[in-house]
Every structure is written in C-alpha cells, then in structure tokens.
Symmetry: C3
Subunit: 260 residues, 3 copies
C-alpha cells in the first residue's frame, strides 16, 4: 500500500496542500466506527472538507456502507459489543475491497481488554495508526522515540501518527515532526478522534499512508492555530477549527507548516 516514494519531510507541506484540493474535488466517503462522544464533531470535520461521513454500526449493513466508501476509521473510544462486531465486519470488508483503514486505539492504556483488542487489530494491517504517547507505550511496550516509532511501524507495516508537543510521523523508513497546533486542541473532546478521521479521508485520496498521515496532521495543526487566534476559549475554538478547515487554502498551509 505504501510507496517507496522519495518524499521526505520537506515535501509534507506541498503534499498537504495537494491533498486538500483532492479532498474537496473528490469528496471521499469515509465510514467511521467511532465513539458516541466523537461522532458529531467528527462528521462536521469531514463535512467541512467536503468529505461524506457515515457512521452506522449495524452488523447487517456496515459491510454495504464500507464497501461504498473510500476509507474506514476504527476508533476504540467506546468499546461495546456492537462496535466490536461492527469492527470485525468492517475490517474484513476493507481488506476484501482493498480499502485503506486507520486505527485510533483510544485509551488502550486504561483497560487491558481494550489493549488486547487493539493488538489484534494492529495484526490486521491498518494503513495508519494515530495515537498518543500513553497509547503507543501500551501497544509497543516502549516509550516513543524516533527509533521505537520506526521499529513499531516497520514491524507492523503501517504508518504511525503520534500526537504530542510535536506530532511524529513514521512508516519505518521516513520520518517527520510537525510542530503545528495549539494548546486549546487538548481542551476540546474528540479532536484527536476527528484528526484520525481526517487521516482516513486523506488515505482515500493518497495511497501513500505516510504522506496521508503527515498531510492530515499538518492540516489539522494549522487549522488549530488559525482557530485559536479567533477564539475566546475551547467552546468557540471547537466551532472555529471547523471554520478554519473549511476556509483553509494551500498557500496558507504551505506558509504555516512547521515540518522537520
């Protein structure tokens, strides 16, 4: 699924700008298995970039929805029986249809049952995994460093997008650190979940998962900075970041991206 493309971190801003255009012109469908806290905000983030979200969990119809989508998100934020059944069918369908899918192993550090489920999902070959440091440590058994990220990505043939002070993106060969974003992003629920959905959307228009992951995280980071400048706190920020994604343009992305 990944290309052995020559793209390096220097190319990420242009990659992000090109993907932004493709999202708007192609409007990919993204099926999201995500937690109830995140569903509304995630749908609005996708719609702001002209993507078409769907979120059904019914085991009778999720295969039909996934097979007509351009990408799948599996977020573990609500870990109930229904979502686990839905995940099994959805991941199988994505594999059959050769559709990209993204794993967001929310809170695996808090529950052994959830960590075990996530381990099994990683073996199913997600194109990208977006997670934070505590979640990475639980999955990999290591503190996140450039080396441990690369090793985990290589071993599992996936791209990793680790959020934190700087977002770190690795696929085992290539690496990028993105220093965009704003502290308010941690004070709005579901922002990470929505970022993972945006990674999935980008995977629908960009077959190289490392590019898709890095580009999506640049978009959301730059939008966060623009939104913070117009906000009075996390309530107005949540609306402003959706406005910022809606009005984001390539030159602004390229000018503001901080990728090393």
């Amino acid at each position: 699924m990944r290309q052995s493309a020559a793209a390096t971190h220097d190319d990420v801003p242009q990659i992000a700008a090109a993907m932004l255009d493709r999202l708007r012109t192609r409007g990919p469908r993204v099926h999201c298995i995500t937690n109830a806290v995140a569903q509304n905000f995630t749908a609005n983030v996708l719609l702001s970039l002209c993507c078409v979200p769907s979120m059904t969990l019914s085991s009778e119809e999720i295969a039909a929805f996934v097979s007509r989508s351009g990408a799948l998100l599996v977020n573990l934020g609500t870990f109930d029986r229904e979502r686990r059944e839905a995940t099994e069918i959805a991941v199988r369908t994505a594999a059959q249809e050769k559709l990209p899918w993204v794993l967001d192993p929310v809170f695996v550090d808090r529950s052994a049952a959830r960590a075990e489920f996530a381990h099994a999902l990683v073996k199913r070959g997600p194109n990208s995994i977006r997670l934070n440091a505590a979640e990475f440590s639980t999955l990999s058994g290591n503190e996140p460093t450039r080396g441990t990220l690369a090793a985990y990505a290589r071993d599992n043939k996936t791209a990793l997008g680790l959020s934190g002070e700087a977002d770190l993106i690795s696929d085992g060969e290539r690496f990028a650190a993105i220093a965009n974003g704003h502290a308010l992003m941690a004070r709005v629920t579901a922002l990470g979940c929505a970022a993972s959905a945006l990674v999935a959307a980008c995977c629908a228009v960009e077959p190289d998962a490392w590019r898709a992951t890095a580009g999506a995280l640049v978009m959301i980071g730059v939008a966060g900075e623009l939104a913070a400048a117009k906000s009075h706190g996390p309530g107005s920020f949540a609306a402003a970041i959706i406005d910022a994604l809606y009005t984001l343009d390539g030159p602004t992305l390229i000018a503001r991206a901080k990728v090393t």
Copy 2:
C-alpha cells in the same frame, strides 16, 4: 389526519408564522428516535423553539415517553437492533394515541436492509416523510418530479418533504416549492435530521401534515439564510442557525419566505 383545507402554496408563509407562535406558546414534547450523530443538535434545535425533546430508546419506557408527547420522529440514521425495537413500540403507541409521527429514511439508498425496514414503516402511515432525492428514488423507484412525489404521497396517504435545491412538499393534492436555504446547510451534519424533528414538532401543533411540513421547512430555510450571513464557515453556522431559530419572528419569516 390531513384536512381538505383550501391552503395553497401562497398561504405557506403565514402558516409558518402562525406555527412559530404556537410552538413557542405550547412547547410541545417531541419524542425522537434518532441517530447518535444527530441527537444533540436535534435537541438544541427543538429547545431553541421552546419544544421539549426526549430521546430514550429503552423498550421498557419508550411507550410511556411517546404517549406523553405531542409527536414522534423516527429517523433511521443509526439502524441498530435497539432502535428497531424502539421504533416498533413507538409507532404502535403513536397509532394508539393518534399522535402524528414523521419518518426520516436516512441513507436508505446505501443499504438494502435499511430500505426494507423503511418500506415497512411507510405502510404504517407516517403523517410526513422528510427525505432527499436519493432516498426518494430508493423508496419509490422513481426520480423525484412533481408527478412522482404526488403519486407516492397519494398512494401512501402521507405528506412528503423532499430537500434539495428547492424543498418540494406534496401530499398528493397540494404542492409547494421552497427556495429558501443556504449551501452551508449541507456542510453541517444532522441538519436534515433536525429539520425532520422540526416537522414533527409542527405536526404537534398543526393537524394538517402538508402545512406542518411546508411551514417547518420554511422556518429552517429562512433561519439558514440568516445564520449564513453571520457565519465564517460550518462551525459557526451550526451555532448561528440555532440562534436564528431562537430569534426568528413571524414578519421576518413572511418577508423572506420564497414559496411557489
């Protein structure tokens, strides 16, 4: 349930203004079976017009909630076992209590199981069905035209509210086209679902389902225009349309309504 009233499309603005007053003075309870993505926004749209939403799905208590409500909404957006059981009980209760109910057959074009469930619900006699063109085509087997809408409405003894460039309302005899609204309405999730809940609320204060459907869609369309003028993208628009419904008055509705 419908009246053979002499109302025509020319009367729709005044009908909408009168219903707006009745919503605020009577504050009808509206029980909503709706999808998890839409629940919060739908509740806030109803509250903005002094209606009282409830949303429980528990099979043990939904009959009690529906029987104490003024109208019922059945939205298929999340098509799980629990919601199908709840729907069966709720529709039966509405029939027993002679309460109006509205069907929103979300995404029936994406899944055969969902379309089959919707077909069976149409036979149960909803007072109004609010849907888009793809959903109408799946249900009726025809592209939406003035003629096919009228035929489907007549055959199923229901009012239809078809959203699109212009919203088309038919009950088989009467017809209205509403040209209000704004492109941002398609970039906010659950706006259609909330519009369906507003149709249900209007059915609680107006026994003529054609009037209730047309009036509700004028309200939401005009509110969308007012909100767009104060928004910077879909994030601020989602809040602004709720503010616009809250502050909407009859003279503004009548002045801005574009009904033919």
Copy 3:
C-alpha cells in the same frame, strides 16, 4: 463522607473559588455514565476546567476506568440495558474504592421503570443527587421545600442540588440557595447533565459533598451569566458557557455569587 464542617452558605463563594483552583491544578479524572445526547457537551465542560472525562460503558472495562478515576457520574438520561449493567458495576467499584459518585435521575417523572431504578440507586448511597423539581417530587413524594429537601437528604445521607429559579442545596443540616444563572441555560440540551458532571468533578477534589455541590452550581451559574452577556441565542450560548468556565477566575466567582 460529609464533614460536620462549620461551613454555611456565606462560605460558598470562597469554597467555589478554592475548588476552581483545585480542579485546574489536580485535573481529576471523572468517569461519566451519561446519555448520548449529553456526552459531547459534558466532556467539553469537564475539559474546560482541566478535568479528564471518560465515558465507556463496556461491562468488561468500566471497572478499570472507574477505579482509576477521582469520581463517578451516573446519569439516567438514556436508560438502556447496557447503561444499567454498566451502572451496577460502576457503583460497586466506586463503593469498593471509596470514590464519590453523583446521581442525576433525569426524567424519572416520565417513566415508572426509570423511577424504580433511581430509587434503588439512591439506596446505594450517592454522595450527591442533582435534579429538578419534577424529579425530586417523583423520588421523594413531596413538593420541594427547604423542609422536604432536608428530610430527603437526611434520610438518604446525601447532598441534594435542586435546580430551578434558584438552585437549592441541602444535606439535611446545611442549606444554600444560589440565585445565579440565566434563562438561556434551559434552552441548551445537556446543561443540567453537564452540571451534574461538574458536581462529580468537585467531589473528586472536595470530600464534603454539600460544599462540592454548592460550589459546582455557583460555578456553572456564574458562567451562565457571563456567557449570556456574549451570546445571541442558545447556539452561541452553548459555546460561550464553555469559554466562560475556561476563563473563570476566583475573584469573579466571589464577586458575582448570589448565595443565601
């Protein structure tokens, strides 16, 4: 759990200001069993004050989440099988770990099954119950007065926070009436649910449940007033109250609190 502290209603503004600081410095984890309508808004209210919400309902992992939290909220707003199972495990875990927990018996006046479940939960010893007049009447069999509140609180060894024109707080011995707040608070869904979550958060940093309940309701009431001054209706208000909580400071709280 309650202290026989000498605190009276005169101390509530200072108590609220001190708890506000403690929330921000300690950032307690609050596990919330709450309804789907309220989950997103509740999470954002908690995050705005540096608390860490979690909301899983899975019977396999809720014990792990609760035992790592500082407090638990049980809100009955969606009364399904899964939430009832989750509640049983969560309340048992809270008792074992000696964690404070708060009950919000939403809509018990609408359904006998729900009222029965709430009665049983009250016997399990919540540290605080936040509810409205109709819910109190259903639970206690009495109209809410200073006397009936005190009797119910004493009989059930709990603090009560009754929302209304003025919020009334009683633990059977002490009493406070809080006249803060704004009419727009009744036009936003889940505001009461989020207030209950804030009571739970305060219980995590203040062992005296009467103080925690009164302080939390002062915070939300003052934030509501500040937000209303910057809002154009309930849509912008819902974002503004989160901004107001985020920027709230002790001196403002003390200056604006109306506690008798």
